[in-house]
């Protein structure tokens, strides 16, 4: 893999160590995960020990060291979503995709994330699909959405 872009990303943040988390976010946005080669480059440029950098990359939940799926499904597990049926929604989405939160389907179509709060509490339960927010979700609506995403690529029925 060519990590030219990583150079660009580090340059954009002026190689500052304070921007480390932002740099890692940008790398993840670009590659869909944090490739080992990219982390090595960051360590070298920011003059950090690689184990320390791995410590940071694994401490923060937003980062993934394995490639994520094409579609990112994020379910909010905040208190407001919880009391409005969030857990049931997560359980069913997880069951039908056959993966746990934090995992990716073997065909790399879907990644499932459960986050603490998306801050859209007034219209819970909230689900975010590829950066787009959906409020007042229930399992029936969620299934329709997942099926639509899958149909776009002619995949199996969810």
């Amino acid at each position: 893999m060519n990590f030219q872009t990583v150079e660009g990303i580090i340059g954009k943040h002026q190689g500052k160590k304070t921007a480390l988390i932002s740099i890692l976010h940008d790398i993840q946005d670009r590659y869909n995960y944090l490739p080992d080669g990219a982390l090595r480059k960051v360590a070298q440029r920011l003059q950090m020990d690689l184990p320390n950098l791995y410590g940071v990359a694994t401490f923060y939940k937003s980062f993934s060291l394995t490639p994520k799926g094409k579609h990112s499904i994020t379910l909010c597990c905040g208190t407001a979503c919880h009391v409005r049926g969030g857990p049931k929604l997560l359980r069913e989405v997880s069951k039908v995709l056959n993966i746990e939160p934090g995992q990716t389907t073997p065909d790399k179509t879907f990644s499932l994330h459960a986050v603490n709060c998306l801050g859209v509490c007034a219209i819970g339960p909230v689900m975010m699909v590829d950066g787009k927010y959906y409020g007042e979700m229930n399992w029936v609506k969620a299934r329709r959405l997942l099926e639509k995403l899958n149909n776009h690529r002619g995949g199996r029925k969810v």
């Binding site: 160590k17 304070t18 921007a19 480390l20 988390i21 932002s22 890692l24 976010h25 920011l46 950090m48 320390n52 410590g55 940071v56 401490f59 923060y60 939940k61 937003s62 980062f63 597990c77 905040g78 208190t79 407001a80 979503c81 919880h82 009391v83 409005r84 049926g85 049931k88 359980r91 069913e92 069951k95 039908v96 986050v115 603490n116 709060c117 998306l118 801050g119 859209v120 509490c121 007034a122 219209i123 819970g124 909230v126 950066g131 787009k132 927010y133 959906y134 409020g135 229930n138 399992w139 029936v140």
Partner: protein, 617 residues
């Protein structure tokens, strides 16, 4: 953009902006907050653009994306000025009608107005809606009027005038004196007096000094910081500038959690604009004060809302907190004096400087001054952000502003203070909302989440939820928090699965006290609060799980059963079609049945049943 080099420049700039704004006869605002985005407000705005272009009205009508007006549940929200007509749940197909009827002819469109169900009447203006009427919107009032991506909108509303006053007419110690006199306490949760914190930081030896804005807002169920930073980022910058001047700081950081992409983007835009206008940089407004701000992003760790963990995170390290024998005001970022305040605290500063500490301290109660923004969410009719004077009762917030229960079920509690807070039962709803009353009731103000719970909410499940949450978020550094929360979680899991026994509650309480007494940072020290408050007020619910193996709220899956009421079932077959495990049987137009041995308790049947025939026991 021109450079603003003096108070005069700022005043002239404002006059020019106001003159330019006058050319518009009508202003249409569309809420662009994250909540309304979930209702696809982007498409509504695009439809307005298209329609206005088609009607060639672009020069007379100003179309604006604004911050969040708070009434998220009714989104997308559109307001037409100067008539002040408030439309809710606006869809793309409504747009041509709004343009032709309201914008061109000044007529109101009935079906888009808010309806007061109790009085059976339509309300055209937002300020007359019960949700807004009882509020005191000092911090949020500009959110629905200004475009957060345009510094001009903020300046037109008198923005940066408090900065000019502080920099050019007051000494740093006068600013601190004013903030101390206002009685403002930190809005992030702990409620430490802001002026005192500033003074401590100013007096701490060492340079450079830093100021930090904490927008990590990790408390689930709270979103006022997101809304403020997203909807009015310049007010936060102005607060930070004034604070930095008072403390003697030269550099600031706005730390935004990764889950708030729009807040981060708008904060960055505001910083860039303020730099271009000379409001950040060197010799600000012609004074000798230099200051700049950068943004920093979080990485999805709750503990980073804690000041020392947040500082470690900005330094590019693992976000672990440290003991607080030495406060951050003495040794913070890179070991230098650092003053950290929450978004809402910073937003109060320009108001205090502009209108004076006497005015500010006249609002609220004796010990809790000013207003507080709450996110009123959960099982209540009107959900959204509400700003109220301190000292208002919980009942007023939940019933007058919130409109009471959502679907006829009785409200039984409200959870405040996030994972460090507790549940307050409905019998205490006459309680005034201020720092002290909430603490006495076993909860806390926290950052302002107010999650309403009704008969359909299981308090054991809520207690388990918070313990699980905190167990996941515990950084693992100290043992009481790392292991204690895990064991508490196991006991609670057992109770919700019907495996609790006579000793469960005593053991749970004992563990709770150990975790609270022996943990290193605030996360662990306050972690048992949700369990202790639930036990204090809702012990019979725990006992029902343990002794009768029943969940009275019908939430805990292992203890519940789904069934279909023969009397109510219309035999439409919707549940049979949707059931993933084929557990529903029945002929068309005849009453259906659920086969308990096949049922996975997913609840899909209940979601689709129009006759309300699916029962959970």
């Amino acid at each position: 953009m021109r450079k603003i080099k003096s108070a005069n420049d700022l005043e002239n700039w404002r006059d020019e902006i106001l003159a330019r704004q006058q050319q518009y006869k009508t202003v249409i605002t569309v809420c662009g907050g994250t909540g309304c985005q979930a209702y696809h407000c982007q498409e509504v705005k695009k439809a307005f653009q298209k329609e206005l272009a088609k009607e060639k009205m672009g020069e007379r009508v100003s179309l604006k994306y604004t911050g969040c007006p708070g009434f998220c549940e009714r989104g997308p929200l559109v307001t037409i000025f100067p008539q002040d007509i408030f439309y809710q749940r606006v869809k793309v197909k409504d747009v041509p009608l709004i343009v032709s009827e309201t914008v061109q002819r000044g007529k109101k469109i009935d079906h888009l107005l808010f309806e007061d169900e109790r009085a059976h009447k339509k309300i055209p203006s937002a300020r007359d809606i019960p949700f807004y009427r009882a509020q005191m919107r000092l911090l949020l009032s500009n959110n629905d009027l200004i475009d957060p991506t345009r510094v001009e909108d903020y300046v037109a509303k008198g923005g940066y005038q408090s900065l000019a006053k502080a920099l050019l007419q007051m000494t740093p110690s006068e600013v601190i004196k004013e903030v101390k006199a206002s009685g403002l306490k930190g809005r992030g949760g702990a409620g430490y007096p802001t002026g005192k914190k500033w003074e401590n930081c100013r007096n701490a030896p060492g340079a450079p000094k830093y100021v930090v804005c904490n927008c990590d807002e990790g408390d689930p169920g709270a979103f006022m910081d997101r809304s403020l930073l997203e909807g009015n980022p310049h007010s936060i910058l102005e607060g930070m500038l004034i604070g930095a001047y008072a403390i003697g700081a030269s550099q600031g950081f706005v730390y935004v959690r990764h889950e708030y992409p729009l807040a981060h983007k708008n904060a960055q835009t505001a910083i860039n604009q303020a730099r271009r206008a000379g409001l950040l940089g060197q010799n600000i407004l012609g004074s000798s004060f230099d200051f700049d701000v950068e943004t920093a992003k979080g990485g999805g760790a709750f503990v980073c809302g804690e000041s020392t963990a947040l500082i470690a995170s900005i330094e590019g390290k693992v976000g672990e907190p440290r003991g607080k024998q030495i406060h951050t005001v003495t040794q913070g970022l890179w070991g230098k004096p650092t003053n950290l305040n929450n978004v809402e605290t910073w937003a109060n500063i320009p108001l205090i400087i502009r209108q004076g500490s006497e005015w500010f301290s006249s609002i609220g109660t004796e010990k809790s001054k000013g207003t507080k923004i709450f996110s009123l969410v959960g099982k209540v009719k009107n959900t959204g952000l509400v700003e109220v004077p301190m000292g208002i009762t919980l009942k007023e917030i939940i019933f007058d502003i919130g409109g009471g229960p959502q679907d006829g079920k009785a409200i039984k509690a409200v959870q405040t203070g996030g994972p460090s807070g507790g549940c307050i039962p409905a019998s205490l709803f006459e309680l005034p909302v201020d720092f002290d009353s909430l603490s006495r009731a076993g909860s806390m103000m926290g950052s302002g989440g107010m999650i309403v719970m009704d008969e359909g909410t299981c308090m054991v499940d809520v207690a388990r939820y918070f313990i699980r949450f905190l167990k996941e978020e515990s950084c693992g550094k100290c043992l009481p928090c790392r292991e204690g929360l895990k064991r508490m979680g196991e006991i609670l899991d057992g109770i919700t699965e019907g495996k609790g026994n006579g000793e469960s509650l005593a053991l749970l309480e004992e563990l709770a006290h150990v975790v609270a007494d022996a943990s290193l940072c605030g996360l662990g020290k306050t972690a048992p609060n949700p369990v202790l408050s639930a036990l204090r007020y809702f012990r019979p619910e725990f006992e029902a799980h343990i002794q009768q193996k029943k969940c009275p709220a019908a939430v805990c899956t292992p203890l519940i059963q789904y069934s279909i009421s023969e009397r109510s079932c219309t035999g439409c077959g919707a549940c049979r079609k949707v059931c993933p495990t084929h557990a529903v049987e029945g002929e068309k137009k005849q009453s259906h049945r659920i086969l308990a041995q096949l049922c996975s308790k997913c609840g899909s049947c209940k979601d689709v049943c129009k006759a309300n025939a699916v029962m959970v026991q």
